[in-house]
Symmetry: C2
Subunit: 661 residues, 2 copies
């Protein structure tokens, strides 16, 4: 153990294991997670080469191998609970997406939700047994977020009782689905359904794409890998071009909508239930934001206590770089954010499960708010985490750029969350739509419930930014509820400003749609402030659940740092709304500096509490034992360029060059 890091752990003021249990949701969960992790990490069948040393094709190959092993082992050990499967999978492919992700996460669940009993017989068991390997093909080369724009057609032919699946244009080629390129032999294809001359919109069809015994693409099917990307190197994201491919009528997923043999279309019963799935996936993404931050802050903080550099006092030994105020100011807010987002993820997950109960009872009342909130929080947390990963990477000097640090992988595999499952700006505008609706309802005298209740007239004074300085409040910067309050008032102000912008546009004879578009900047700001308020509030709420005094104390420090740092970085909003005055903003900087000093002795313990196994972290900079440099040297020597002392290019190009000059 590196003496510096040992010394850090001696300074800890709280019980790390207890905090780990809070983060995991209880000691049983911690234990079970560790049990599953050690099953995988000690299993010689999962030994693998560092993917950073492999070519794209080798990485894909290794991932398929491990995933195939994984399926066998899950059966062998009887692991069937979705959360435990997820945990096992995360240990097999630490932090990396893999070629079977869409088979497990989309193909099988879609069958469960949308297949008829007959279809379950034909497709589900073969898919469960990996005879059928499937993916979910929705996005097209030219069409993403706006699903009504999708061009792929499924035209019903009553003569043969078949659907004809077709990609009419280049831009209609299915593009991006994971596992589509090389792995899958079936795809659930989303296509515009045409029957009896009418279009009935998007429906799902099971399309065989590769021969079941040779794996060669079927006639009319052009399928392949879309090429190298930022991240997702193990995954064969694919393209699929269908040239009048015929499938039996029974391959349309018909649990809800139907096409009768004669071509009659039968509408589905109305369904807002897909909201639930979206909420679930987005709450998972919030959890992933937290996870990425936990990893990044673990690496950067541990490295910052073993790394010595420059001097604070002339002649003194080089200090640990975590003693620089600028380093603390980079890393501790990220640490606070990691905790904040963990608790937000927990809240969303619990709320989803609670509401799912209500939904099954037919009570959909809370769903719209949660749906709107989940969109905004997905965007808010992924954007914040995305930048924060890079702050952590760049806080580690040159070594943060080496793949041995794990930062390059963490970033490229995380950043797609900003775009998939709803592009972030679009998500923010979705939340804004709910906020504007709520605002209008409140103005119309309706009494709002839930998180948006702060928009009720009575609860906040009308905002008059012109009078800003006159309104400064008696904010108590040591008190979380006081901080929650100013975030709430800031959100209320920005929601009101966005609403006013729309109004003003409409007074200038703009259509409602143009007024919306011309206010989009304000709308995104309003959503952002709303989400920021929710995060601060949930962090404060979580503190109320913590009994253990030393842990409560350190989490309170983190929560205050999270809140005050956010105010400091958005001080214009608070000043403009008259929620703070200039000298209070100066005080905030002083408070932040104090909080940084308070956190310093517990910094390593706070990342230790994330309890990320060295093999899961896979970072020489973030090693638990702090023995960074010797392992970096060892890692580098395994670089493929070092497999020979003299690279062939020397003989091919450099040596011959001399004679030519």
């Amino acid at each position: 153990m590196n003496p510096d890091i040992l010394n850090e752990r001696r300074k800890t003021t709280f019980d790390v294991e207890k905090l780990t249990n809070i983060l995991n949701g209880g000691p049983e969960k911690t234990n079970r997670r560790r049990e599953i992790e050690s099953m995988v990490l000690n299993d010689p069948d999962f030994k693998n080469e560092d993917p950073n040393f492999l070519s794209r094709s080798e990485r894909y190959d290794q991932a398929v191998k491990k995933s195939a092993q994984m399926i066998l082992k899950l059966r062998e050990y009887g692991i069937a609970d979705p959360e435990e499967i997820y945990c096992y999978k995360s240990s097999v492919h630490p932090g990396r997406p893999e070629p079977f992700d869409l088979h497990l996460g989309m193909f099988l669940p879609t069958l469960l939700n949308q297949a008829t009993p007959e279809q379950m017989d034909r497709f589900f068991m073969p898919a469960w047994n990996l005879e059928i390997i499937g993916t979910y093909a929705q996005t097209e080369m030219g069409h993403g977020t706006h699903i009504r724009g999708l061009e792929t057609t499924a035209t019903y032919d009553p003569v043969t009782e078949e659907f004809i699946l077709n990609s009419p244009t280049v831009s209609s080629i299915k593009w991006w689905p994971g596992g589509l390129g090389k792995t899958s032999n079936h795809a659930i294809v989303l296509a515009q359904l045409y029957t009896q001359g009418n279009c009935h919109g998007l429906h799902a069809f099971i399309v065989p794409i590769r021969d079941m015994s040779t794996h060669i693409p079927l006639p009319g099917v052009v399928v392949g890998d879309i090429g190298p990307k930022f991240g997702f190197t193990e995954v064969d994201n694919g393209f699929l071009k269908l040239d009048h491919v015929r499938i039996p009528r029974e391959n349309m997923l018909m649990k809800y909508a139907k096409v009768d043999p004669d071509g009659t279309y039968v509408k589905p019963p109305s369904a807002k239930l897909t909201y639930g799935t979206m909420v679930f996936i987005r709450s998972m993404i919030v959890g992933e934001s937290a996870r990425a931050l936990a990893k990044s802050s673990t690496i950067a903080i541990r490295y910052s206590v073993v790394r010595h550099q420059s001097e604070i006092r002339p002649g003194a030994p080089e200090p640990q770089i975590l003693d620089y105020q600028t380093q603390q100011y980079k890393l501790f807010p990220v640490l606070a954010m990691a905790y904040a987002f963990t608790f937000v993820g927990q809240y969303m997950n619990q709320t989803y499960h609670r509401i799912t109960g209500d939904i099954n009872q037919g009570d959909l009342s809370e769903l719209p708010e949660l749906h709107a909130l989940s969109a905004g929080l997905k965007a808010f947390t992924t954007w914040a985490a995305n930048s924060a990963i890079e702050v952590c990477r760049m806080s580690c000097g040159g070594h943060g750029y080496s793949c041995s640090s794990a930062f390059p992988d963490i970033y490229v595999d995380f950043t797609p969350t900003c775009t998939y499952e709803g592009e972030n700006t679009v998500m923010m505008l979705q939340t804004a739509r709910y906020l504007m609706k709520s605002y209008r309802q409140a103005r119309a005298g309706q009494r709002l419930q839930g998180i948006v209740s702060y928009l009720n007239e009575a609860d906040h004074p009308r905002i008059q930014p012109q009078l800003a300085a006159a309104r400064s409040t008696g904010i108590d910067m040591n008190d979380m509820s006081s901080l929650v309050e100013v975030y709430k008032l800031r959100a209320a102000t920005l929601v009101e400003l966005a609403a006013e912008s729309i109004q003003k546009e409409m007074q200038h004879n703009k259509s409602q749609e143009d007024a919306w578009n011309n206010s989009a900047i304000d709308l995104v700001r309003a959503s952002d402030a709303h989400c920021h308020y929710v995060v601060v509030k949930l962090f404060a709420d979580k503190l109320g659940e913590i009994d253990d005094a030393p842990i409560h104390s350190v989490l309170l420090t983190l929560a205050r740092l999270y809140a005050l740092y956010g105010i400091s970085n958005n001080s214009g909003d608070f000043l403009q709304a008259g929620l703070l005055n200039g000298s209070q903003v100066l005080q905030i900087t002083t408070h932040i500096k104090e909080l940084l000093s308070e956190l310093r002795p517990n910094a390593v313990a706070l990342v230790d509490a994330f309890d990320i196994h060295d093999k899961m972290l896979n970072s020489v900079l973030g090693r638990y034992d702090g023995n960074v440099y010797e392992h970096m040297f060892e890692w580098a020597r395994r670089s493929p360029l070092n497999s020979t002392e003299v690279h062939e290019s020397y003989h091919k190009y450099l040596k011959p060059l001399r004679s030519k000059l």
Copy 2:
């Protein structure tokens, strides 16, 4: 030509070619650049495979091949002007660093500056003829920015008249130098010089590391590649461990300092001249920030006019995504920044050359200010560009993640600028040191000259943040000089606040060093505001040089957007300092929206003016003709995973799996 992009070009209000000439520094420069580019781009010897489809070793191999060709061709064509060599090199390796970069950019120049005539004879011509290939080995595994901490030793042995070069610890291993791993046979090694029992600090030594005919590492030398990284995939950044390697006394670079045969150390004449080189390199990096922004905004803006998505008005055709206000708000500030940084780069380059003249005349008076400014501007522009590249990438939906977009390469090859040639936070603190010194001088009644003259007492009122609201100025948001003025006052305020923080700390009995560290957050903010002011000022100054009315008009729009966007994003500073009031901040948002609309018709023309050849951009999204989708499909089909219809992993793992389940 895609009709959308054709239509955009028809709307242009200015002469694109004239603007290109302004950006290039005159029509002759534009022409010569194009001439050199076409030499390379039409040369069949430089045809190459897209590096994205190659393994690391293949990429290195291809880069060495091209670099070797390049050296031959430069001789053949007699290209010897450094700027023209740079242009040629940038066309051979568009946007990518390559294995010879340090040979050309550090090894040869260091010989020129620090070698004796005898050393020039022995080393320079062989190096010029690529018999000797060299690199510059300063950074060690455990030591970067703080060069006094470097551990490698060079101990003089008067008996044999040799230096003994040694790496005493793991952390002393030379780490990161480009071309060190596999390419170089010599290295200029920076080491602590010991002679006659005394250490004389860091000196430079020429160390042969590989056999000149076999290229095998010499005895006592352990050298290799440091492994895969974020970016720089073509470059063999290397490690070098020296185990008591002996080199002749004459291999120490002795133009300035010397060691006599008997071991007597002869001091160099004092030299602050290395400042000049640093200024030059940092001004180059500012230019690279501009270049990265030009590329990124070209790709994102062109794609945003051919990409149609969602709907603004229900039922209407999907609009070009550049018609969304949120998209304009993402991209046009980046475009404005690209122009701003281009002009800053031009200014620094010109100033450097002007001052170099003065230096040769013995006048060093302007050097400290330029040195301090170049440190801050390096940090300011690279940080800003780093984030902006990612904003552009994420504005392109999923396709921004594909390597076919070029964004992944642009980002990973640019982001190291935030760390190398001076870590950005350290750079900001260097500028802050100059600002604090200037501030104290001004307080002591000295009259400051140059850019920091705004710190002169008389030129600005004492800042009293408490009275913020009382001080709001009659700012004219249409007038650049008025905007420059508020940026100047903001910088003055933040410099003063940082100075006050240091003072306060010292009043609490902190040492000067601790006071500095405890004020580091404020110091970085002050530097940031100082640099921001300089950028706005230089943009405004540049407008004064533009005669062409339509170009002046569109550049003024960009300059105003740059300035107002910066105020809006840092409104807290301006409010707090009483430079603006709340309603003025609201007006700024309205102004920004107007500027976005004003720029919309010229957006494509403004990126066209960067005149980046399609082959240099290498992005399917950013193609000049806008024909994105067909070329994306064609690119994807060339993905290595598509070289066979069925990947071997199917036969190895997936097919056998069925029988096991």
